[in-house]
């Protein structure tokens, strides 16, 4: 077997895996669409403004409507001590 045939085989395996992943993503997206209706009701009915991803600090639980001073409110120049503060960037428009 020529080396290029082995490469072709490897690429075919990778292609098959990727095709499977794309199909699986399509299925997951369809499930998400089903949940979207209930989520729309919850957001509209309760006036929700944020995703419930990180609940440790209010500026990462509700970044859209939080106090701008919240991360540094303990004392002037206080460092943000919650880990999620490093992942969630403050929106530039509100700085």
């Amino acid at each position: 077997m020529r080396p290029s045939h082995i490469l072709l085989l490897l690429l075919a395996i990778l292609g098959a895996i990727d095709a499977g992943l794309i199909l699986s993503a399509a299925q997951r997206r369809a499930r998400q669409e089903q949940a979207a209706r209930l989520q729309a009701i919850a957001v509209s009915g309760l006036g929700l403004t944020d995703l419930c991803l990180a609940t440790e600090a209010r500026y990462t639980r509700h970044p859209a409507v939080t106090d701008l001073v919240a991360p540094f409110m303990d004392h002037p120049g206080a460092m943000d001590h919650f880990p999620t503060g490093s992942f969630w960037a403050p929106p530039r428009s509100r700085l």
Binding site: L14, A25, L38, L48, C52, T55, E56, P83, R94
Partner: protein, 397 residues
């Protein structure tokens, strides 16, 4: 046909050449794959979260009004809602009382929200978002609807009541009338929804005051205009519009976040080291190989083609494997590597069922960051060596 056969022969030679130096090439492949995996995982995770936020929050309140004092949010008195009635185009104003409750036993932060759901858009359909029970009717006090995590906490204590402490440490107990469905976990997992007067009583908020006001307008095209009018009329308020909320989530997971910068810097550092290693010149063995090939009659273009194929194979396979692994990491392992940073010390967080975002923009970004610099960094030194006459290259070796 002849060109294709020629390129396949060159490809075969390039593969054999890679195999001869397999340990070196394998280590480059592994580092390269790991870097692409990290960057692609970050892109897919943040892309999936941003898309979820945009899809879910397109029904957020059109305008949210908060009162500010000394740079902090304070309660909003009922007169503010009355003053807004002078603005033409506002269809409804709904006061909400909400805040956070720290549960000392579990260390969890709950979001407590009190509002008259019958005054909200789609408020009459909220029962559809419940997995069990029902939504308490308007004016019904002493009962709550819980997010699944809060309900699990209450069940773990073997209680059928949710007991919360007021500021003065007196206890308020609520009957559980319903639990949100798992489909809404990403929004409601830490939520306790109650009557607005119960929330005022719990947080000791005076009279008819509210935490914020949800303002809805008749014509959605006028959201920004009416928001500006509100800001002019009530200068001590912060006006957050729906487009601003959506924009927040578009930028909140951006490259400017600390973790995003770390991923990008790591990737860039790795590429700089790789490029430096390659651009600093070929080894004596590689120079000798090129010289021998030229003596055997290979042209500079043939040698460049071999080097190009070698680089393309290493970077292309790394790219494919890295992106595939990133997809599996995000889709099937719920971005487990990023999870500790995304949730931090949160006790309550939803199961992340992310669908990775693989847009052409993302693929192109990763490709340009990884494959193109590697190709440039390997082909240019090869061209330098290949353009040197074979006899001088051999005598130098």
């Amino acid at each position: 046909m002849q060109i294709l056969a020629r390129q396949i022969n060159v490809l075969d030679y390039a593969l054999s050449s890679l195999w001869r130096r397999r340990m070196k090439n394998l280590s480059v492949l592994l580092v390269f794959t790991a870097v692409i995996f990290l960057v692609a995982s970050f892109q897919m995770t943040t892309g999936a979260l941003t898309r979820t936020a945009e899809r879910v929050l397109e029904n957020a309140p059109q305008i949210t009004l908060q009162r500010m004092s000394a740079g902090r949010q304070v309660d909003i008195p009922p007169e503010y809602a009355a003053r807004l009635s002078s603005i033409y185009g506002i269809s409804r104003i709904v006061p909400r009382v909400w805040g956070y409750y720290f549960d000392e036993v579990t260390g969890a932060n709950l979001t407590v929200m009190g509002l008259a759901t019958d005054r909200m858009p789609m408020g009459d359909q909220l029962h559809l978002a419940l997995a069990s029970g029902s939504f308490p009717g308007p004016g019904s006090r002493g009962s709550v609807v819980l997010g699944r995590a809060v309900n699990d906490m209450v069940q773990a204590r073997g209680s059928h009541l949710l007991s919360l402490f007021r500021n003065d440490l007196s206890m308020a107990s609520f009957e559980i009338s319903g639990v949100f469905a798992d489909a809404t976990d990403i929004l409601t997992r830490d939520l306790v929804v109650m009557n607005i007067d119960d929330a005022r009583d719990l947080f000791r908020i005076r009279g008819d005051r509210a935490t914020d006001l949800c303002v809805y307008v008749t014509n959605p095209n006028e959201i920004n205009t009416i928001a500006r009018k509100i800001a002019d009329l009530l200068p001590d308020t912060r006006v957050v519009t729906r487009p601003q909320i959506l924009k927040t989530y578009r930028v909140v997971f951006g490259w400017r976040s600390g973790f995003g910068s770390i991923c990008l810097l790591t990737a860039l550092t790795a590429f700089i080291i790789l490029a430096w290693d390659k651009a600093s010149g070929l080894s004596q063995e590689e120079k000798r190989e090129i010289a021998i090939l030229k003596v055997l009659g290979w042209q500079t273009a043939d040698i460049l083609a071999v080097r190009f194929w070698e680089s393309l194979l290493v970077s292309g396979i790394s790219f494919l494997v890295g992106v595939t692994l990133a997809f599996i990491h995000v889709a099937f392992f719920d971005a487990a590597l990023f999870r500790p940073i995304m949730v931090g010390w949160s006790v309550i967080f939803p199961p992340f069922h992310l669908v990775p975002e693989m847009t052409a923009q993302v693929v192109l970004l990763i490709f340009c960051l990884s494959v193109l610099p590697y190709l440039a960094a390997t082909v240019i030194p090869a061209w330098h060596t290949a353009s040197v006459p074979a006899d001088s290259a051999l005598s130098g070796a």
